[in-house]
Homo-oligomer: 440 residues x 4
Amino acid sequence: MPLESNVDIRPATGKLGILLPGMGAVGTTFIAGCLAIRKGLSSPIGSLTQMGTIRLGPRTDDNAPLINDYVPLAQLDDLAFGGWDVFEDDAYVAASRAGVLDGHMLEQLGDELRAIKPMPAVFEQAYVKRLHGDHVKSGASKWDLAQQLVDDIHRFSEENGCDRLVAVWCGSTEVYREPSAVHQSVEAFEQGLRDSAPEIAPSQIYAYALLSQGIPVANGAPNLNLDTPAMLELARAGRVPVTGKDFKTGQTLMKTILAPGFKARMLGVEGWYSTNILGNRDGEVLDDPESFKAKEVSKLGVLDTIFQPETYPDLYGDIHHVVRINYYPPRGDNKEGWDNIDIFGWLGYKMQIKVDFLCRDSILAAPLVLDLALFLDLAQRAGLHGVQEWLSFYWKSPQPAQPGLYPEHDIFIQLMKLKNTLRHLMGDDPITHLGAEYYD
Amino acid sequence: MPLESNVDIRPATGKLGILLPGMGAVGTTFIAGCLAIRKGLSSPIGSLTQMGTIRLGPRTDDNAPLINDYVPLAQLDDLAFGGWDVFEDDAYVAASRAGVLDGHMLEQLGDELRAIKPMPAVFEQAYVKRLHGDHVKSGASKWDLAQQLVDDIHRFSEENGCDRLVAVWCGSTEVYREPSAVHQSVEAFEQGLRDSAPEIAPSQIYAYALLSQGIPVANGAPNLNLDTPAMLELARAGRVPVTGKDFKTGQTLMKTILAPGFKARMLGVEGWYSTNILGNRDGEVLDDPESFKAKEVSKLGVLDTIFQPETYPDLYGDIHHVVRINYYPPRGDNKEGWDNIDIFGWLGYKMQIKVDFLCRDSILAAPLVLDLALFLDLAQRAGLHGVQEWLSFYWKSPQPAQPGLYPEHDIFIQLMKLKNTLRHLMGDDPITHLGAEYYD
Amino acid sequence: MPLESNVDIRPATGKLGILLPGMGAVGTTFIAGCLAIRKGLSSPIGSLTQMGTIRLGPRTDDNAPLINDYVPLAQLDDLAFGGWDVFEDDAYVAASRAGVLDGHMLEQLGDELRAIKPMPAVFEQAYVKRLHGDHVKSGASKWDLAQQLVDDIHRFSEENGCDRLVAVWCGSTEVYREPSAVHQSVEAFEQGLRDSAPEIAPSQIYAYALLSQGIPVANGAPNLNLDTPAMLELARAGRVPVTGKDFKTGQTLMKTILAPGFKARMLGVEGWYSTNILGNRDGEVLDDPESFKAKEVSKLGVLDTIFQPETYPDLYGDIHHVVRINYYPPRGDNKEGWDNIDIFGWLGYKMQIKVDFLCRDSILAAPLVLDLALFLDLAQRAGLHGVQEWLSFYWKSPQPAQPGLYPEHDIFIQLMKLKNTLRHLMGDDPITHLGAEYYD
Amino acid sequence: MPLESNVDIRPATGKLGILLPGMGAVGTTFIAGCLAIRKGLSSPIGSLTQMGTIRLGPRTDDNAPLINDYVPLAQLDDLAFGGWDVFEDDAYVAASRAGVLDGHMLEQLGDELRAIKPMPAVFEQAYVKRLHGDHVKSGASKWDLAQQLVDDIHRFSEENGCDRLVAVWCGSTEVYREPSAVHQSVEAFEQGLRDSAPEIAPSQIYAYALLSQGIPVANGAPNLNLDTPAMLELARAGRVPVTGKDFKTGQTLMKTILAPGFKARMLGVEGWYSTNILGNRDGEVLDDPESFKAKEVSKLGVLDTIFQPETYPDLYGDIHHVVRINYYPPRGDNKEGWDNIDIFGWLGYKMQIKVDFLCRDSILAAPLVLDLALFLDLAQRAGLHGVQEWLSFYWKSPQPAQPGLYPEHDIFIQLMKLKNTLRHLMGDDPITHLGAEYYD
């Protein structure tokens, strides 16, 4: 069923609960930020749903409402926050430990943050080797753990008086694994849960529990999760929208900005060397080669689809693309990415570009959590389900709408797709930037 | 008259003469490159007309022909090259002096390059203070100089058996001047020529001579030229297409790639500090504060239109934008641009990006000269005239289609506009990246 | 009279008053830091007198006492702080405005800082064009202003029970001026004061007042001050030690580290391009071309004396050395210096080095103020007077011991000179790093 | 026996043969360079023996002869070149393949370079895993291989009419190995050779063969070689000077320049992250983890000895020092090193420095080969033997004069040690930079 235009969208009345598996640096920065913005202490910089506008009609119409005024989104005042974590710290303690937000701001939000306590997590050491927490569930089987999560979900919903729920995975990167037999159908997966199959990762147990309750899910990490036949079948059956994977922040964000630029100008690329240094929990987890593998696969794919080496073999057919991540404690949450790019132009002459990005991981990720939660909720109210390709904008490894399609990595095409989808939902014409009407 | 779809385009038969006012580093790199490519010695990297493809229909059609196969462009074998310069060096000597291309390549093109000798230039010291050449015309008045150019044009056309001509200004940056009374109409301008009005710059005399003969013109420098009522009137009267201004290469190219990326993600910008070091003739000319003024105005405008500070005052309302150019001989033609960008995200937290671009000025500019010449010729054969806004892609300071419109600086919107214009001319549907048909 | 070895040094008993003309970012960072260190809240990082050791005898002796234990310096607990400023803010308010130290630390020092109030300054707009304060003295003549300063000095000394005083100029950079007739002798200078000669800068009035009272002076700014015959005569007459000029911090510090390294290896230098961006009061003052001129002269001299182009014409005879400073508010006190260095090696092959220093102006300068105050006081107690060449270590433009000598800029030679001077004063052998005794 | 002053140095008459085990990029750049300089085609930039001066007496004497005029060194015209390699390419072909020097220069030296053909190498795959050459010796035992080398040495000496020989290892980095029992004495080593002990690396067979013939040796690679009791015993017995190890070029060179600078100013260091990208044969060899281990140990030691963390625990007690090397073909021989350094100053405030060094490996190493050969020959003629600590200046991992001593890494102390040693040998006073005589 193709996407219809001018669909009927249920209104965003009542409370929207946002569930976060993983309440560390990213999760608490997101929650504390929403609270601070609600209090008028700060601004939702970096959030397209809160700050962005959308142009309608020709330039001369000068008609560009806020996205938040154009499509019916849940409002910040109507959000409730919850989740799970392997540490029992409440959101105030966890945010203080993460060291992202300054103490002065956190203190103003102290009571509200302290009231947000994580539920015990589903965790398995083999999937995240460098993390050691003890606020974890025990159960007779993985099926039993899934049921405990379902109970958590319902209890949270009732206690917070939620009308609707969405979930965004904000936990650590699990080790790299290929899909196996248990991931091929809902039936096989449920049997695997009952057998406590080792191929089933904790993040997949969350996804199963959430989707089985009709709750839309976004996957902020690079490991295998929503991108298996079992989960897609579950989403389709329940008409639930899903989206993933791996928040596009930092170096990969820069890549999907720069690479389309080089390609626009038909400048060749001979090599792209990327090194990252970061000192937060994420850096520690990625210091394990197996977790890094999952991240590396996610990061390396970007250039291939943007550059289309098969279409442009002379320009992009032989790129030496190297990605390194190093755990480096002095940097803390302030990730630094240094890129060296070797390009060539007219007659093959060589040029170099160096980009040093002194960024902050959680600051870049938090507004994405907000946007994804609000857009997934919109999608569900608009009757959309399955993979939401128009949300590719947010991902390092966007899932395509259909298995056969290549994913779109170019951030500018992703944004155009997102905005034209909103226009389409609201019954407006897409923007083509043709501007044919201005010529005399 | 708005741009019609599926127009009748005259075929590109016969020879196309490309006239370059200014045959220094950029001009000779362009000419030598075309000759080398014709001989199969090298590739037209960086040229959209030669290397680019254009997607037609949905992704699943897998239909993306070369632009050069899709629209009827003049072919490299059908080009003839000529121009004017203040130094009498032939193209071989000038290219050797410029030091852009290596000696080995130039030697293989020696005979052809030596045969290309510049015609004496129209020059006025007051407009380019740091340049001292003696291969210049003298005349009773600026009107007389214009007539000498017209004679040059006709002689060149006959000697080279050209069917059609186009011109691309590749000369130095003239000093900054506001438009004055003589620029307000063709009549005033022609009187100014007869009076040798000091307000009329040499580049304007070229533009007048070329347009009066129905020859399309592109302006590669930032100074006042095609963007005056007089020139636009002349273009309209003769139904001649024009485009400008200031080749978008190096640092500004990077800015129009990066800035749309920050804006896509609604990341705020507090400051953007750009410094350039370059050691070629261009660097020497720009060491004069008045020439730099023209360049600075051209460079500073970019961020304002991309960021729309009036729409996004919290994000872009107070940017400290500083641009510096320094003459630094060790760098030669290998311009280096270093940018520091201060951005801020979620809750106002600050981040920094440093970009060091070790680029080559003429290598980046040469393929633009080729594309502009071929696209202007296509435009003329397609009956387009006046400002060709769809060529904004190539300019630091794109001229809008109509005086009231804001120029488009975002390189990705510029490219979409360019490609959708080509699709439109050929009667195909524009691409919107909606992809509505893929959802199930 | 050459420097004698093992001299008799008066003990550092009683209180040492440190007078600062200029109590802005640098001055208050220095004072607040000393108070914080006294309270045990922090460490005197960056201070050679507090952190440094000095090796005595061969390596095998393993004898390297703290400098502070080796030579008799005044101790932090015995310091009293005072000074003058054109703004009447007390040290707490001034430090808060400067924005260098975090609020939490300042609050712990609140009472002590608030008790330190600047005395009204001697100021003249023509010498610092971008600064506008009203906490200034008025007087019948410059002579009268000097007498007011003398009164201030005595009152401060009595109120604080000081045994000894030293002064360190921490004010803004004055405009560039060549020495004139009034600077040629004490007599001419005193006549100039009485005539309110426009050639006499405010900083010179301070220097005169201080030296006339036998108080050692260090000049932290690049403008003409202690380096005139009049001031040197005054210092000699009163047997007062002096030292200057221009604190070596940030980019020039890096230059005097890197340049000796290139020279050690006989690597040639073709160009050195330095750009600075800074957003504090200093940046604003230097945005005035005349103040920048004083700073530029100070900064440009460094490479010449390190590289000895007359000795090494093939390596350093033709360096393109460019220094730029830009006022860029987003950076605040966190100055950033970006250097591009073009070097060449074996057979003339070219290489490049880029250095980006994200530094903090006042953090780098404050420990120099402390060291200079303590070492000048030591020098006076040791009977040293005139220019203290062994303190060259601290200066962008070190004054040589005698007019005919070239200044020493190499930071490693400067440090060896400083330490060997201390060893000499204490009667120990200098270190030569010969290590002849270790060979078998 | 300590180093005596004003020793009797045998004159440098006759021919000096320079033997290079390893004739790849570094070796051929060295040889081609010497030939080019002899012909007057280029300059020995980067060579202290050829370009450097040495100051004698106080500054006011203005007496700083060229080192080459001050001490009796062999002259370039008296050098003969030879060596061994695993590829049979002559020096012209090898230099062309290395791609360091431009073709135009190489052609002018063609005949001389083609006449220099490597002798077959002693090689063992287990010690250099990524290198595959077939120009290698075979023999009944390692003892037999050593004897073949001795024969090579004598044949080379006779054929070239050499009076004296020196050797500089310019081969690849072997895998990391700790010294074992066979390395503890000459007797054990010789038995090991006869037993073809696997613990004996090819480079050690060269060292044995050379030292046994009284030929001074320098070790340009980081692996275990001259730094074993067996080799030191052999050197002592034959009164042969030796020096090592690992040419100090590129990133480590920069470290030993910068680190002493931070320490001079007592600035703390929290972290130092170094990444290297290089695309030559060296990069390929180091892509093997075991070879990288040898290099890493050599690179990591530098900071520890310069910073003396046990003396300065508050400043340097907890440095996160990370070194990465990546094989990245686009860079070729043009190695690039990017360093991020996290420092802290007054009160612990943090600052950052980024250094990007676009260097050329072989261009930096070649002049060191020349200097080491000439200085080792001088040392031998001066009767010096054993470890030449005064040549620490050239090494990433300098061997100390005696086992108990710490090595000196500070390049400025190393240079002072080198120059004061030369002064000492010639009977002049060392320089202390005290300058006591200039004070009045």
